[in-house]
Symmetry: C2
Subunit: 221 residues, 2 copies
């Protein structure tokens, strides 16, 4: 596992995001911060004082199992909100996957806002609902074969980054493995296999080209 720890944590330039109803709140009330690769954003069990929105980079939430393995709960990409807990404390830890800019907003100020602005309140519910759906999808992922898990993962990422056909992976094979409940070796072999089937191309380890969406979707479905 990686050493890292709270290194470069400092305010960054604010950047307004549009579209989402919460985006404005983040732009106005949030403080943009820089997190270095592998630095902790919050720890499991800590009080959930803040809510976060990824501006650039990527974030993973995870839990360490008693046998030492790590289970990644989710990856959050630019635009995604995370750390919004219904309960008082964080259920998982959060770390920056790579150097990242993240807007931080006080949970209390967001809730205060929700009281007066029903759009914000609505957004909070929607986010909670989406999170639940995401975890439920994760359950379905974990009962499938390695190929299906990897294919689903790639498609999900493609959907979210929307960069037509080419994905830039911010996370390592180990990160992916811990998300999919597989080993690094299996993830690597599976990617190689998919490349062999011409479903994807791997110009470099961190770049994946989805060359045969049809086939990937058949694996996913």
């Amino acid at each position: 596992m990686l050493a890292a720890a709270r290194t470069t944590i400092q305010p960054a330039l604010a950047k307004a995001t549009s579209g989402e109803p919460l985006a404005q709140s983040f732009a106005q009330l949030g403080v943009p911060m820089l997190y270095a690769r592998d630095s902790e954003i919050y720890g499991e069990g800590e009080e959930a004082e803040f809510v976060y929105q990824v501006v650039s980079g990527a974030v993973r939430t995870y839990k360490i199992l008693n046998d030492g393995r790590r289970q990644v709960g989710a990856f959050y990409l630019p635009g995604d909100v995370f750390g919004l807990e219904i309960s008082e404390t964080h259920g998982l830890s959060a770390e920056a996957v790579c150097n990242a800019t993240i807007t931080v907003i006080k949970r209390s100020s967001l809730w205060g806002l929700a009281k007066s602005d029903s759009d914000v309140a609505q957004s909070l519910w929607t986010l909670s609902a989406r999170e639940l759906q995401r975890v439920q999808k994760h359950v379905l992922l974990l009962v499938r074969t390695a190929q299906e898990r990897v294919a689903s993962f790639l498609l999900e990422l493609a959907d979210r980054t929307a960069a037509a056909g080419v994905i830039e992976l911010p996370m390592s094979r180990q990160d992916i493995a811990d998300y999919l409940g597989l080993t690094v070796e299996t993830v690597s072999r599976t990617l190689t296999a998919l490349e062999g089937q011409a479903a994807i191309a791997l110009p470099s380890a961190r770049r994946v080209q989805l060359t045969n969406m049809r086939q990937l979707r058949r694996l996913d479905s």
Copy 2:
């Protein structure tokens, strides 16, 4: 898969439950209904018009995967509330595991109540939070060994039914397998193995005695 379908669905005698803040609402506004074994309570994608509370019996929520396999999302036991969606539709289907009495309440009336009674509103949030935690625990379950999954399952059930050391299983091996992401054979074999290790005793197929909590917890942890 079982035939079944909407057979005996009829009002049953009301029964007040205490403790939970929502219990009173269910007792006052809810309509108790009888569902026959394997009958559908609601289907995936249907509008979430009602919220349910188990009075007696048990309920499973599930999804059918494209390869025909069934993934059980959760089991709900007496006292448990289910079908409370944040979104407008049900994400999973729900069926009675065995003949069950279930109190049904209009979602809209519950939400109306939440507006005036903040205790009820609080309960709704708490339930949503609990549901999310439950699904997250499920994710962690699915990346462990068969023995660990079965041990965890038994302990969870023991916690919830609280009948000191002896569990009456309302669900079949197939139900358990589909919940744990295993095959029936593996569940059966694992139970036999746990019996061999004197961690449990199986007086009958549907009755499990937890004879060595220590060992089960070591598997669970």
